[in-house]
Amino acid sequence: MWSGRQGRLRPVGCVVEELRCRRREREAALRKARREQQLISKRLLRDDASEEAEGGCVAMILGETEIQHFLRLAQQGTEEKERERALVSLRRGLQHPETQQTFIWLEGSMRTLVGLLTSNQALLQLEAARCLHELSHSEQSAVAEACLPATSYLLTYLSGHSSDFISPHLTVLEALGYALSQLLQVKEAPEMIIPSVLGSTLPEHILRLLQPGPKLNLGVAVEFAWCLHYIICSQVDNTLLISHGGLSTLGLLLLDMAGAVQRTEDTGLELLACPVLRCLSNLLTEAAMEVVGGQNQLEDERVVAALFILLQFFLQKQPSLLPEGLWLLNNLTANSPSFCTSLLSMDLIEPLLQLLPVSNVVSILVLTVLCNVAEKGPAYCQRLWPGPLLSCLIGTLAFPDIEVVGQSLELLQLLFLYQPEAAKDFLQQSGLQVLERHQEEAQLQDRVHALQQTALHQ
């Protein structure tokens, strides 16, 4: 992202362990901030970034005259360096909310910036993108609304290069995506910004930028996938996105990502996978999905195959994303006999069981997916037992977490109901003794008791 990144030199004397430690600290700070509902990336990032980068040099607030001066220089200066410097000065000033306000209320300023964003001079284009980037950090919805109309136009211009993207255009496109993602997180976004976004051609542009293929650029896709996530999870009008083929595009993208993992071209893939999984999972909950056989449905079992390839990738590279992947698996299988059958026919039960030890959250989700399969009836349970499932369940019954045990009890009930012989096997594997451990636990005892009865009366 942002071009020059690869060429950046690490500061001398930076030790790997120091980096890891710093990263842990940053992670802890981010978690704390999120829990306190303070995780507004722009603000936090601003504080960190400006300290490190500016090195104590404080940018000044710019007034109308100064802004006009810099814009004029940038647009009409004779020397390229001079034009660039003008934009840098403007950008620095735009770090201040006051400058941002002044800027957006100044007539013609946004228009000029948009013009510079489409400049045929790469440096100006990049610097203008950084200005847009600063504006996108604003927490004031007025700024967001001022930036928004430019987006459709810019996307047309930038997307017009689809046949051969060159790097400054990609960088600007990425910056645009990032700016949009920030704007979509403004507090009033669901009421004020997202409706107009949905009413424009932006959704189609965004989906087009997420279409898999040789032209897909990871940095660009990541930013626009996050945009889509913020739109979808705000629940304004997801049916519209489905009607634009959102499910199909995202499904194909999932397949594409799994392919990338298979080819081990997966650097940074988790950054794209995360928002895509979220978008798919949330879209699947829309009422439109209840229409059986509807053309906007997601029914291709390759999606399940792709998801498992990604789960394996997460297990190795980014275990914290396993819950999100399993959430999608739940939403795929909950109401779908077809996908449940796919899990069985593609032999995916055992790989799923291998995830049980990862964490409590993961265990619960795995057990929930297995319940989704089991609750469909005897034909499904016959494929669950005989098999490794039962001994795994006896294992999870011994977990210290109440919710994991609770979910195990639910699965056991289904298994005993639809595959009574499994109860005998359960007894033979000393399952009763494990059940007994939970007899006194308030949240579990009723179910434990019921299962004991069932098992004993086989």
């Binding site: 013009g115 136009y153 047309t156 211009y157 469909k376 009836g377 639910e410 289904l414």
Partner: protein
């Protein structure tokens, strides 16, 4: 996590859904004291379920932003000149040159030398400017297509199209529309002031805003019969053009080398 080998080949295969096994539920399933019901779950934005993924995203952004706020050093090369005939732009970085070439020389109209940001826009330009059949047909039917790919609207005049772009696609309301192409012939009355104001401020490459050049409306300024439009269209263009000006090459810039 061991995945069955057949999984990888399934991914490579064609789309398809599994024929579902028969579903047969017993009312006792999930009945009290049990409570399981298969259901899809949705999470709103602030839900704690998203914490890990959000943290990952923000860590990535933090890394990136420390580099954005400092403009990175770009590799420089010895100065070289653009080799396209008539262009004397000089560069000291391959990235700049690539951008320049792509924006100004890539999608160039062979009739009038205007450059366009994309093949699509070049095609539209050729159709509307250099195709006499277009002119004839446009007298009878709506021929000016919307420039946004995916929008099927067509219009009687380029002004109508421009209004549509502004209204429906949120294009900037008056972006560049009063800036004429740098023509050598007599300018339209509306354009005269602008043209002369700009002549001294030159650039062999135009300034940022020119990337979307919208030329003055012929129909608005000179009430000529439609049939005559074709012959004068080179000097008094009447359509929105996303192109760079056609006349370039001998304008002086700081970067020019050797040609005076």
């Amino acid at each position: 996590m061991q995945l069955p080998p057949a999984l990888h080949s399934r991914l490579a295969g064609g789309p398809g859904a599994a024929e579902p096994l028969p579903v047969e539920r017993d009312p006792a399933a999930g009945a009290p004291p049990f409570r399981f019901a298969a259901r899809r779950v949705r999470f709103p934005r602030e839900h704690e379920f998203f914490e890990d993924g959000d943290v990952l995203r923000h860590l990535y952004l933090q890394d990136v932003l420390t580099q954005v706020t400092e403009a990175p050093e770009r590799p420089r090369v010895p100065e070289f000149t653009c080799q396209v005939a008539g262009c004397c732009q000089v560069f000291d970085s391959l990235e700049d040159y690539e951008h320049h070439y792509h924006t100004l020389h890539r999608n160039v109209c062979s009739f009038c030398r205007r450059a366009f940001p994309s093949v699509h826009l070049l095609d539209v330009h050729i159709l509307e400017w250099h195709d006499s059949l277009f002119q004839i047909l446009s007298e009878r039917q709506d021929m000016y297509q919307c420039l946004v790919e995916g929008c099927a609207e067509k219009f009687k005049t380029s002004k109508d199209r421009k209004d549509h772009l502004v209204r429906c696609h949120l294009y900037p309301a008056d972006f560049r529309f009063d800036k004429p192409k740098k023509s050598r012939g007599p300018a339209t009355p509306g354009a005269a002031v602008r043209a002369s104001a700009e002549a001294p401020r030159d650039d062999g490459e135009q300034s940022g805003g020119d990337a979307m050049e919208v030329c003055s409306e012929h129909a608005a300024s000179l009430p000529e019969p439609v049939g005559k439009r074709r012959t004068s269209s080179h000097r008094i263009p009447s359509t929105i053009c996303f192109g760079q000006g056609a006349s370039r090459g001998f304008k002086s810039t700081k970067k020019k080398k050797g040609h005076q």
